[in-house]
Point group: C2
Chain length 330, copies 2
């Protein structure tokens, strides 16, 4: 299946501009917040892209919207299928619902309850699978084939990458509005769609900004792949509370982009993620899910030296179960 | 003490414009978020002023900053004194610290721990009192007199009201940016400084917008005072989880403004406030404290019929103790 991707052209800067135009009235232009307390702590100048305020609670709504808006009428009538641990699921379900497109979402049985409930609330049909024994892509492709439906992949699709890249366009423009030039941008990374699109946007609008991926320990496939120059896989026994960042290898379409445009990959452990979530609760007043908090965690834990630099961090999602959040607030 | 207030002129629209100019580079222009889910639920068009993202986690930083920036050099050297249940405390402490002004804050012994800790973290000296047996204003005035320090009152001061009113100016301008004309604005109310300043801003910039105060049950002194036409007090045994909205009567300076400009006062109970906080966590990804959530609660609980209307709600503060938040998330 994925081998066909070698024939697909990666998105260009103009694709991201087009995506921004296409999805503009559907998505939230989430704020880039100047963070005084973070700036003092790090002796840098820190801005936070509060993408938790996006519709469906994560950046995934950008890519999903950009994809479904490009379906033909016939494709719309046959529906869409997606596989996702939760944020892409909600995004595809919500974007499809908005256009009255039937959606089927393949989700892991152990996905956060909030994500399962929300996906269902957007009217999608949910098919559960076991994350450790079954292959979600095969399940999704089988359903799609049976129904003639269109697969909306989580990251390895130029329209998805372009949609996520609109976040990068916004950050670059908002940094200018704040009157600053960004030295660096830290962004959560799983399959790599968000950071690939964002890096493409910055390569054109602010090429001197260094782009760093941030991953949870154990799922640092992009960090290791960037170092090795070729894709690396995670160990099968790896575990993390960052349920939205558990992809086991860099994307086929995203990695070549990221290899060319990222400066390095940072890694944080779960306890640093918990601390970042508590900080966001106490000081920022934002609800950030584990995977959405890794860039903030990298900054707070000193995994990136922001001293003297102007830095943007992306907080990419906020869909966290009340039970997990309560256990973290202890 | 308060009788002197009859001689003090209330702030004008120009005072609010001047305040916006004065504090502009010190405060956050918090976003006015379009809320699709709230709009669907209420069959209205709902916008949320996310003032929890303000420095120190509440709108109080606006008024405090506007006040301390107008101190003379001599006044600055002698310091400031404030009394507050927590949000004004943090705001005065932080605004004073920024200008290296010594600050003493009189706080209730049962104030939320987070608010006490934060106030201390801004370098203020804290004096504790018993909210049920002692008079905080007398304690503060005694300290101020002894030290020649300046009292920064929580609401009955034209510079404080003008500072808080900059929130109203922003909402009016941001509604225009969204291309909408607001039919109504719902705003939390305690002493009434925020809503008085906001109502003054709207009277000039959007006079057709109806302004409604929202208070917790038991502390509905403004709602009852608006009905009666003269100030009413709360019962001494009233209790609420809305620790930031426990003032026992409308302000001397704020009430005449509010009597002239507010359409009505809404009231919500503690269970409606809890539900609103959970909704903010799950759907908005914002941490809102009980008192900051009353306008959202009024909307969600159907205390205000938003059907067919364009409505802004103010979420005024997010300083909530982790323990309380955990108990509410159950």
């Amino acid at each position: 299946m994925n081998d066909q991707l070698s024939d697909i052209a990666p998105p260009t800067y103009m694709d991201i501009r087009d995506a921004a135009e296409r999805i503009g009235r559907h998505v939230v232009r989430t704020p880039l917040l100047a963070c005084d307390d973070l700036s003092e702590r790090t002796r840098g100048r820190i801005f936070l892209k509060a993408e938790v305020l996006q519709k469906t609670g994560s950046f995934k709504y950008r890519g999903a919207t950009n994809r479904v808006l490009q379906l033909t009428d016939e494709e719309r009538s046959r529906g869409v299928v997606a596989y996702s641990s939760g944020n892409h699921a909600q995004a595809v379900a919500a974007a499809a619902q908005r256009l009255s497109i039937p959606a089927t979402i393949v989700m892991p049985r152990d996905a956060p309850k909030l994500k399962l409930e929300n996906t269902q609330s957007y009217g999608a049909e949910i098919v559960l699978y076991d994350r450790f024994t079954e292959d979600r892509a095969s399940i999704a492709h089988e359903i799609a084939e049976r129904r003639g439906a269109t697969i909306v992949p989580p990251y390895d699709d130029p329209r998805i990458i372009a949609g996520q890249g609109t976040l990068g366009l916004e950050v670059a423009a908002q940094a200018s509005d704040h009157g600053v030039q960004l030295d660096a941008l830290l962004c959560p990374c799983s399959g790599g769609g968000l950071i690939a699109g964002t890096a493409l946007a910055f390569a054109e609008t602010s090429p001197s900004t260094r782009i760093h991926s941030v991953e949870p320990a154990g799922f640092d496939d992009t960090a290791r792949s960037l170092k090795a120059g070729i894709p690396q896989k995670v160990a099968p026994d790896a575990r993390s509370i960052c349920d939205s960042l558990l992809s086991d290898s860099p994307g086929k379409l995203t990695f070549p982009i990221n290899r060319g445009l990222l400066s390095s990959g940072l890694v944080v452990d779960d306890s640093e993620v918990r601390s970042a979530m508590i900080y966001a609760f106490r000081t920022l007043k934002l609800v950030i899910e584990p995977g959405g908090a890794v860039a903030l965690a990298a900054l707070l834990a000193g995994r990136f030296d922001a001293s003297g630099k102007t830095v943007a961090i992306v907080c990419s999602g906020g869909n966290v179960d009340p039970d997990l959040f309560r256990s973290i607030l202890v």
